[in-house]
C-alpha cells in the first residue's frame, strides 16, 4: 500500500451525492464532475435523493444512504435547519458530510461548496447597465422560498439601489420555475411597462417562458438569466437572450467530491492548529467558490448539455 | 268513542317557486286512528308529510300538537315530538349495514358514547323477523328495492313515536308483506299511536283505515269516516270526476291469436333462475306474479340482457335473437321498465324531456346525429299529455316532480321508442288511481296494436285486473300459470308460496 497514493479509496469505499428534485438537469453536470474526481481516485459513487420537492422524503433518503455506511455524502440540503440533526447524526456515526449549492450552516457539515450568488448578481447588474444605461426600467422574476434564487434577485435589486439609483424596478413577479407561469407574468409585465428595458431571471426554466412572451409581444427587452438549458441556449444563439450566467457545475461536483474525500480522510493532514484538542475536522473548507461561466452567443456551443452528455453515463 | 285529537293542522301552505304544492290544507289526527290520505299524484301528500316531519318549512298555517301550537324545524324536532316517517322515496345509507340504518335515528339521539353493534343487530333482527327475511348485517347496497322498503318500515318501527306516517309503504311490497305490515299497523294503533297512511290502493285504505282525508291540487277537499263512504266517492273527490272503470276491458275471445310474439325457452342463469320457458302471444298481456325476491325481475332482465350471464334462447316473431347487450335488445324492440325508478330508471338532475328521449336519442335527432331540441320537447309534451303528466315545463329537472309523476316519465321513456315487446316491472308503482287507469288503458291499447306486453306487479288486483294470463314465479322457476276465472288472488298466492311444486290441478 505504500506505493499507492494516499489519495485513493479503499476497496468499496463509496461516496454519495444526495439532492432534492433529483431529476432536475442542474445536477447532471455536477454529478459528472463528482464522478470524474471519484474515478480518478478509485472511489465508488452513488447518486441519490428524492425526485420530489419534499423535505421529509429527502431526509428519509439521506438517512437511508447512511444505513449503507458510505464514507461521505455530498449533500444539497433542501432546507438548512431541518438537516442539522441528520447531518450531525451522520457525522457522529462516521459518515462525513459536505454541502453544496445550499448550506446547513448550523450543522457540523465539514465544508460548503457553492457558486457565489452575490457575485453573479453583481455581474448581471453591471452587464445590464452596460447594455441599457444606468437609468432604465428593469424587472425580475423570482421563486420565493428558494434561497439561492432569492439571493440572486435581492442582491441585484440591492446593488442597483446602492450603485445605480436611477435604475427603476417596475415589475417583480413570481414564476416558480414554471415556463408557462413565467410566460403569462412577463406578458402582463410587458403590457404594463412599455418602457421595460431589461429582465433578470434567477433560473433558466422561467427564462424559456419569458423569452417566448417577449418575442410574442415583439418587445425589445434585454434578457439575462442564471443557469442554462438547451432551450435557453438556443435563444442565446439566436440573440433573443442576451446572456446567461451559469455556475460551474462540473467544478462544483469535482470540488465537492474532493472536499468530501478530504473530510473523510482527516488523517491525511496534520495542520498547524488546535484540531487535536478541539476535535474539529482539520480538512474543513468553510466556503469554496466554484465560480460561474458567462454564456453568450460566441461561446454558446460549449454549453450544450445534451451534446456534453453524449456517451456519458448519467448515473 | 272519539279519541282525543293529537295533531291538528290548519290552513297550511307551501310553494316551490311558482308551484303551489299546498294551499290551505287542514288535517285532524286522533289518537289510535289509522288515517288515510288520498289524492292524485302531485296533490301534495308527500309535501304535507314533509312539513309535519320538519323536512320542509311551511309558508303559512298552523300545526297544533296536543293542543299546543308548534313549529317543527327539523326531523330531529319532529322526532322529539314523537313523529316517525316512512318515506315514499327510499332514503337509506347504502354503505351501511341494515341494522345501523334501522337505528340511525336512535343512534343520533342516543346519549351512549359507543356503538353496541351486537345489541343493534339483535334488536334489528327481532324487528326484521316480523317483516321478512333480511340479514341485519348486510349492507343496504346489496338489498333489492323491496327489501329496502322493508328496512325503511323497520326504521320507523324503532322510533318511540305517537304519530307514525307511512307514505306509500306498500308501493314496492307484495300482498304478503303488505298484510304483515297491516297487522303491525293495527297493533300500533291499538296502542294509541296515530297513523297517517298514504296509498293509491283504495282496497288497502278501505280494508284498514278509519278515516280518509282527500287532497286535490294542494287543497283540502274532505274528510270521511271510512264506514260512511265508498271507494268511488273517494276517487271522485280526488280527481274531481267519477272513474267508472279501473281496469280496461280484457282481450276478447275473437281477439285471441296463436301468433307468438316472444318465445323464451330454457332460459337459465347461474344463481337467480333456471329453465324459464314461456310464450307471449299477440294481443295478450302476460303477467308475472310471485313473492318478493322470487326472481321475476331477474328473469325479465335476463331476457333483454340487462344483467347476468344467461343461457337459453329468446325468439322474437319467430326469429331467434342473439343479444350481447341491452342496447341490442332495444334495437330489436324489447324494452324494460325498471322497478327502481330512482336508482336505475331516471336521471334525476336532468330535464324531463331528455329523460324521455334517453332510450333512443337518435329518434329526436337528425340523420347526422344532431339533436333537435324542438323535436325532443315535442316528444316529451306528447307523451306527457298521453300519460297526464303533471309538471311545470318539460325542461325542468325530473327531481322536481312528485313520485307518481316521476313514474310517468319513466313510462314515457319506454313508449318513446315504439317497442315491439315491453316489460313493465311494477309499472304503476306510486301512480294514482286516475293515472293508473290511464296507464292500464294505454297498455291494453299497445297490446291491441300488436305490441307484446309483460307486466310484473306485486299488486295482485292489478295483475288480475289487467292481465289475460299470469305466470307465477317462485325461487327462480315458473311454477304455474293461471288464466280466465282461475286468476284469483288465492290461486296466485298458492302457486307463489307452496312448498312443493306439484302442478295445480286445473
Amino acid at each position: 500500500a505504500s506505493a499507492q497514493s494516499k489519495f485513493q479509496c479503499k476497496e468499496g469505499e463509496t461516496y454519495v451525492m444526495n439532492v432534492m428534485v433529483s431529476a432536475h438537469p442542474y445536477w447532471v453536470p455536477v454529478y459528472q464532475g463528482f464522478k470524474q474526481a471519484a474515478q480518478a481516485m478509485g472511489c465508488k459513487t452513488v447518486f441519490s435523493g428524492t425526485p420530489d420537492y419534499d423535505i421529509t422524503k429527502q431526509i428519509a433518503s439521506f438517512e437511508q444512504d447512511l444505513i449503507k455506511k458510505p464514507a461521505g455524502v455530498l449533500l444539497h440540503p433542501m432546507q438548512a435547519d431541518p438537516f442539522i440533526e441528520p447531518i450531525n447524526a451522520a457525522i457522529a456515526n462516521g459518515t462525513t458530510v459536505v454541502t453544496f449549492a445550499a448550506d446547513s450552516p448550523k450543522s457540523k457539515r465539514v465544508s460548503y461548496i457553492t457558486s457565489d450568488n452575490l457575485a453573479e448578481a453583481k455581474f448581471a447588474a453591471e452587464e445590464i447597465v452596460k447594455q441599457v444605461g444606468d437609468s432604465a426600467e428593469y424587472a425580475v422574476l423570482e421563486n420565493p422560498g428558494q434561497s439561492n434564487h432569492d439571493l440572486r434577485v435581492t442582491a441585484l435589486i440591492d446593488y442597483f439601489a446602492k450603485n445605480y439609483p436611477k435604475m427603476k424596478l417596475v415589475g417583480r413577479q413570481a414564476s416558480n420555475q414554471d415556463a408557462t407561469v413565467a410566460n403569462k407574468a412577463v406578458a402582463s409585465m410587458l403590457q404594463a411597462n412599455p418602457n421595460l428595458k431589461a429582465l433578470w431571471i434567477p433560473e433558466a426554466g422561467s427564462a424559456e417562458g419569458a423569452v417566448a412572451a417577449v418575442l410574442e409581444a415583439k418587445a425589445k427587452v434585454l434578457i439575462m438569466h442564471a443557469d442554462i438549458t438547451p432551450a435557453t441556449l438556443e435563444q442565446i444563439k439566436a440573440g433573443n437572450i442576451h446572456m446567461a450566467l451559469s455556475p460551474n457545475q462540473g467544478m462544483q461536483g469535482y470540488l465537492g467530491f474532493v472536499a468530501t474525500f478530504m473530510a473523510a480522510h482527516p488523517d491525511l493532514i496534520d495542520p498547524f492548529n488546535d484540531y487535536k484538542t478541539s476535535g474539529f475536522n482539520p480538512m474543513a473548507i468553510p466556503f469554496a467558490d466554484n465560480g460561474f461561466a458567462v454564456i453568450t452567443k460566441e461561446n454558446a456551443d460549449s454549453f450544450d448539455l445534451n451534446k456534453y452528455m453524449e456517451g456519458r453515463d448519467p448515473s | 268513542m272519539d279519541h282525543p285529537v293529537i295533531l291538528k293542522i290548519s290552513n297550511l301552505s307551501k310553494s316551490f317557486g311558482p308551484v303551489r304544492a299546498l294551499r290551505g290544507v287542514d288535517l285532524e289526527l286522533r289518537r289510535g286512528e289509522i288515517h288515510a290520505i288520498a289524492g292524485e299524484n302531485g296533490a301534495g301528500k308527500s309535501t304535507l308529510m314533509k312539513v309535519i316531519d320538519g323536512i320542509l318549512l311551511p309558508d303559512g298555517g298552523d300545526i297544533v300538537i296536543d293542543g299546543k301550537p308548534v313549529t317543527i324545524a327539523s326531523p330531529t324536532e319532529a322526532q322529539k315530538l314523537g313523529i316517525g316517517f316512512v318515506h315514499q322515496e327510499i332514503a337509506l345509507c347504502p354503505d351501511v349495514s341494515v341494522a345501523e340504518n334501522i337505528f340511525m335515528g336512535v343512534t343520533n339521539t342516543s346519549k351512549a358514547l359507543l356503538m353496541n353493534y351486537a345489541d343493534l343487530r339483535k334488536r334489528a333482527s327481532a324487528i326484521l323477523r316480523q317483516l321478512g327475511d333480511i340479514n341485519a348485517s348486510a349492507l343496504v347496497r346489496t338489498l333489492s328495492i323491496s327489501q329496502q322498503q322493508l328496512v325503511e318500515i323497520a326504521k320507523a318501527l324503532t322510533l318511540d313515536c305517537r304519530i307514525l306516517i307511512f307514505d306509500e309503504p306498500t308501493a314496492a311490497l307484495t300482498e304478503r308483506e303488505a298484510k304483515i305490515l297491516f297487522e303491525i299497523i293495527h297493533r300500533l294503533a291499538s296502542r294509541g299511536i296515530a297513523i297517517i297512511y298514504i296509498s293509491h290502493r283504495m282496497a288497502e285504505i278501505f280494508d284498514n283505515c278509519d278515516r280518509v282525508t282527500v287532497l286535490r291540487d294542494g287543497r283540502y277537499i274532505t274528510t270521511h269516516d271510512i264506514r260512511d263512504t265508498t271507494p268511488e266517492q273517494v276517487v271522485a273527490a280526488m280527481v274531481g270526476r267519477v272513474i267508472d272503470k279501473l281496469y280496461p276491458e280484457k282481450q276478447r275471445a275473437d281477439e285471441r291469436s296463436e301468433e307468438v310474439i316472444l318465445d323464451v325457452s330454457n332460459l337459465c342463469e347461474a344463481t337467480r333462475f333456471r329453465d324459464v320457458s314461456f310464450q307471449l302471444k299477440k294481443g295478450e298481456i302476460l303477467g308475472l306474479g310471485g313473492l318478493i325476491g322470487a326472481g321475476r325481475s331477474e328473469i325479465v332482465k335476463g331476457i333483454c340482457r340487462l344483467e347476468g350471464e344467461v343461457t337459453g334462447t329468446v325468439a322474437l316473431h319467430g326469429k331467434p335473437l342473439s343479444l350481447a347487450h341491452y342496447g341490442d335488445s332495444i334495437d330489436a324492440g324489447m324494452v324494460y321498465l325498471s322497478e327502481d325508478r330512482k336508482g336505475d330508471g331516471l336521471f334525476l338532475d336532468m330535464s324531463i324531456a331528455s329523460n324521455i328521449s334517453a332510450l333512443a336519442v337518435e329518434r329526436v335527432a337528425s340523420r347526422a346525429g344532431l339533436i333537435n331540441a324542438g323535436r325532443e320537447t315535442r316528444q316529451a309534451q306528447e307523451l306527457g299529455r298521453r300519460l297526464a303528466l303533471k309538471c311545470g315545463h318539460v325542461n325542468d329537472a325530473v327531481s322536481t316532480l312528485s313520485g307518481g309523476n316521476q313514474q310517468k316519465v319513466a313510462i314515457a321513456k319506454m313508449l318513446s321508442v315504439a317497442p315491439k315487446v315491453i316489460f313493465l316491472d311494477e309499472p304503476t308503482r306510486g301512480v294514482d288511481v286516475g293515472a293508473k287507469a290511464e296507464i292500464h288503458r294505454i297498455v291494453r291499447d299497445l297490446a291491441r296494436s300488436g305490441v307484446g306486453v309483460i307486466i310484473i306487479s306485486s299488486e295482485l288486483p292489478e295483475l288480475i285486473g289487467v292481465c289475460d294470463r299470469v305466470l307465477v314465479v317462485r325461487e327462480g322457476r315458473i311454477t304455474g300459470e293461471v288464466t280466465g276465472d282461475d286468476m284469483t288472488e288465492e290461486n296466485i298466492m298458492y302457486l307463489a308460496s307452496i312448498a312443493d311444486e306439484r302442478p295445480r290441478a286445473a
Binding site: 413570481a174 417566448a212 410574442e216 438547451p230 432551450a231 | 336508482g343 336521471f347 339533436i371 316529451a380 309534451q381
Partner: protein, 331 residues
C-alpha cells in the same frame, strides 16, 4: 276541471326572446363577474383594455383551454384525470425526441398524440374493465408519464429551435392580427361546445355521468362512453402538448406540474360537477378566463408577489360565491 296546475308545455321556454334566454343560462353569472372584472381593471390600468394586452391574456390560457375542454367532457361523464399535466409534457417530449432523431415534426407530433391517446385508452381500460377509480388510475399514470418524460430526456429540456418555421407557425404565427394558437383554441371550443350540446353521442356522456345505472338501463354502453371520454381527455392533452412545443420551441420534461388542479378548477367554476352529469364547455372556458384574467391583472398591476396568492384565492372564492347566488336554484 281536472287539473288547475300548469299543463305540460314546452312553449314557455321558447317564448322568451334571446335576451331572456341569456339570463336563464348557467353561464350568465360568470360572464357578469368577468365583465365586472374587466371594467374594474380598465379603470385600474390604462394598459388593460389594449389589443396587445387582450392578445397576451388570451395567449396565456388558450392552450390550457384545450385541456380544459377534454377535462370538462370527462368530468361530465363522471370521471377525472390528474395526469393531464404529465401527459401534455409527454407529448412534447415524444414529439421532440422523434424530431431530434430525424423524423419530420408533423409525423412526430402525430405519433406523440397517438401515444397520448393510447395512454388515455389504458386509463380507460383500468377504469372500465378493471373497475378502479379514475382518481387513482390517473394519479398512477401522472407519475408514470412524468417518469417517461424524464427517461426520454434524461431530465433535460430538449431544445427544438431547429423546428421548421411552418411548424412553429402553429404556436407562434398569426393569421391577420390573430395568433394561430387562439384560432385553434376557439375552433376546439366551438366544435366541442356544439357537439356537447347537440350531438347524440355526447348526450350519452351526460346520461352516463348523471346516473350510470339508469344510462345502462337505457341501453347506453356506459363503459364505452367512459372509455372514450377518458381517451379523449388524454388525446386533447397531447394536442395541447404539441402546440406548446411549437410555441416554446422546446420540450420540457417538467412542464405542466400542477396543471390538473388549475384545469379542474376552471371546469368546476364553470359549472361542471365533480359528481358527473353536468357542465358546459362554454362555462369551463369562462372559468379558465376568470382564473387567467385574475392572474394577468395582478401581474399587470405589479401587486407584490407576497400578496398575489392571497388576493387571487380571495377573488376565486368571492367569484364562485357570487356565481352560486346568481344560480341559486342549482344549490
Amino acid at each position: 276541471m281536472a287539473t288547475t296546475s300548469n299543463p305540460v308545455n314546452g312553449e314557455a321556454g321558447s317564448t322568451g326572446n334571446a335576451l331572456g334566454r341569456l339570463f336563464r343560462m348557467r353561464e350568465t353569472g360568470l360572464i357578469l363577474i368577468i365583465a365586472v372584472l374587466f371594467i374594474v381593471m380598465s379603470f385600474a390600468s390604462p394598459y388593460f383594455l389594449t389589443w396587445d394586452n387582450m392578445r397576451a391574456m388570451a395567449m396565456a390560457f388558450a392552450v390550457e383551454g384545450i385541456v380544459v375542454v377534454g377535462m370538462t367532457i370527462l368530468l361530465i361523464s363522471g370521471g377525472i384525470d390528474l395526469s393531464v399535466g404529465s401527459v401534455t409534457a409527454l407529448a412534447m417530449v415524444i414529439a421532440g425526441w422523434l424530431f431530434l432523431n430525424g423524423l419530420d415534426p408533423w409525423t412526430a407530433s402525430l405519433v406523440a398524440i397517438m401515444a397520448c391517446t393510447a395512454i388515455g385508452a389504458i386509463m380507460g381500460f383500468f377504469v372500465t374493465k378493471v373497475g378502479l377509480h379514475h382518481f387513482i388510475v390517473s394519479l398512477a399514470v401522472m407519475v408514470i408519464a412524468r417518469g417517461l418524460c424524464l427517461l426520454g430526456t434524461g431530465g433535460r429540456p430538449l431544445g427544438l429551435y431547429t423546428l421548421p418555421p411552418e411548424f412553429k407557425f402553429i404556436g407562434q404565427g398569426s393569421i391577420g392580427p390573430i395568433p394561430v394558437v387562439i384560432v385553434i383554441f376557439v375552433l376546439f371550443v366551438v366544435v366541442f361546445d356544439f357537439m356537447l350540446r347537440r350531438t347524440t353521442i355526447f348526450r350519452k356522456v351526460f346520461y352516463t355521468g348523471s346516473n350510470e345505472k339508469a344510462a345502462a338501463y337505457s341501453g347506453i354502453r356506459t363503459t364505452k362512453v367512459i372509455f372514450l371520454t377518458t381517451t379523449l381527455c388524454a388525446a386533447l392533452s397531447g394536442v395541447a402538448g404539441i402546440i406548446y412545443m411549437a410555441r416554446f420551441g422546446s420540450a420540457q420534461p417538467t412542464f405542466g406540474v400542477g396543471m390538473e388542479l388549475n384545469v379542474i378548477a376552471a371546469a368546476v367554476i364553470g359549472g361542471a360537477s365533480l359528481k358527473g352529469g353536468s357542465g358546459t364547455i362554454l362555462g369551463a372556458i369562462l372559468g379558465t378566463i376568470l382564473l387567467s384574467v385574475v392572474s394577468s391583472s395582478l401581474a399587470l398591476l405589479d401587486v407584490s408577489i407576497y400578496w398575489q396568492d392571497i388576493i387571487r384565492g380571495s377573488i376565486l372564492l368571492t367569484a364562485v360565491t357570487i356565481d352560486h347566488y346568481l344560480n341559486k336554484r342549482r344549490g
